[in-house]
Symmetry: C2
Subunit: 360 residues, 2 copies
Amino acid sequence: MTAGVGTDRPVDLAFIAGRLRPYLAGLLTAEQAAWKERGAPWWDVPEALAVYTDGGKALRPRFCYWGHALSGKRAGAALLRACAALELLHAFALIHDDLMDGSGTRRGGPALHRRFAEEHRRHRWASDADAYGCATALLSGDFAFALANRLAGALPRRARDVWADIVEDLTIGQFLDLAGAARRDRSPGVARTTALLKSGRYTVTGPLRLGAAVAGSTELPPDLVRYGDLVGEAFQFRDDLLGVFGDPRRTGKPVGEDLRAGKPTLLIASAAVLLPPAKRPLLSRIGSSEVTGADIAELTDALDTCGVRDRVEFRITRNVRAACALARGSAAPSPVREALCAMASVAVGGRASDGGERRG
Amino acid sequence: MTAGVGTDRPVDLAFIAGRLRPYLAGLLTAEQAAWKERGAPWWDVPEALAVYTDGGKALRPRFCYWGHALSGKRAGAALLRACAALELLHAFALIHDDLMDGSGTRRGGPALHRRFAEEHRRHRWASDADAYGCATALLSGDFAFALANRLAGALPRRARDVWADIVEDLTIGQFLDLAGAARRDRSPGVARTTALLKSGRYTVTGPLRLGAAVAGSTELPPDLVRYGDLVGEAFQFRDDLLGVFGDPRRTGKPVGEDLRAGKPTLLIASAAVLLPPAKRPLLSRIGSSEVTGADIAELTDALDTCGVRDRVEFRITRNVRAACALARGSAAPSPVREALCAMASVAVGGRASDGGERRG
């Protein structure tokens, strides 16, 4: 039994720092060597990924770790591969997400496409720097995804099926995010499905299931599936709030981007019900080219004063409490129960302080 | 023994039309259903891929088919999966390639990002149509890649290793294409490595190896590896020529884009040696923002009159002849030897007439 909390350093964090980070670093160093061996005179892509995967909160590997710990088995090579695959998948998702949203900031610094564009300008290379930056970041995301799939391809059959679910949920969630904004969808149904797929399942339930499958379990118990979906929804609520009310110095992303783009978030779905009628026209202006900075400021203010913000905070607290109760009431080994309860809070709180990784 | 040529319809084409196309269509229809089941109210992405994978020359599955036929085994479910994975990988490569190159045309119609942008305009959806088009095409490429990897993940271990090589070669080739253009590299070394990776190995040798691995062979015989690299180089030479001298109505892509972007092609590497000194300054202007339509016309003309075009045509013919001799001299079953010899010509000729699939 490797699980345990309450020590100086939780065992999952020790696993991330002591084994996952070195494993990822070694993998990407080996990739640079593989590029050279194949005759490539430049290897900027694996080099960029090495920097990119060396930070963040590692929420997905942590949930994967605890899913595996349900079995009581020791953390071995297959778990390491699964966790590395999740981190590379997340690097891919963030890089492509920033391209899709035209978002220039990530983790408080320039997004990857901006970094490559800056390099292009610094060297005074040929043709358009921004186009080069976007193309190279696009390819870097593809490469991260390729590596993630290569690692996942070496997992046991059942884990590969869970992996396919995670990737599918992520893709559908991302598409609903784009399509909902374009179609000006403000329905709670689309917002909830989007949040469930790209946060609940991709961030919490999927990694838990993956860890369990790596350990040989056929399926996660229903109460822990429910736990994952509750934590995931709360995680998305927190993300929505940070996107509107967050401190950019702590989240690493500017505020207001989701509102400006008219993303189909849970926050906006709640606002469509709770905003006073006088403020509702603001909801139809967001996502259009006519939306102004004053509109965003007015809407931000209205979301606060009409109680949407408090209501969403309340739902986060309620979800975390319910999830914690489910974890504690589950048949999991005692240290895992406590760890899952703690992870519910980790996922929704203090997000900005330890790296911040807003998806928006 | 399923191999055989000289019948009314080559057996590989019968396999593509009779089994691969229906398999891909079924897969993408099932994906639309899976999206609906997960609560997605829209499924534009799998729908778009169904249209996208229903054409083209299927060169890669055909080479994979013949690699498998080396064993004399019957074409079964694993070969079908491998071929479908190659077609989806190619759809991914084309979709992202058009985004990276900012290329608006594919197979004579608008590229996928243009199609999605047009749909956005037609429905008068919110926010920027071009940004929506690019984001949705980016995600569609990701999804094609995800499906390709899912299929490849179910192949035998040895085939999965070959798959990883194919993906890695493609990625490195794509990066050298971008990086070589940015760095104004005109060296034959980079041009040859780029062509070897993204054409030779990705299009010919890799699929042959994949087919052989699916049939249980550990490695392709060295003469057939050499065959693949020769055909692949000739394929890239033809692609380079079509990109400069081709008829857009037949290739489905405008001419001059590679020159304008200063791509590190084999053609330009030859030109750097063969162009008369008076014309060489043109080579340093391409890829810069100052390049004019007159420069492109002058360079196109100079490539013809100074003999670069003829020389490249000569090398294509030489490569095809040498590849054919290698195939005929190999230990492969007789119908496979003849089919591989014929495929060398198929890969480099008549490319535009049956669908055209310029990568540039």
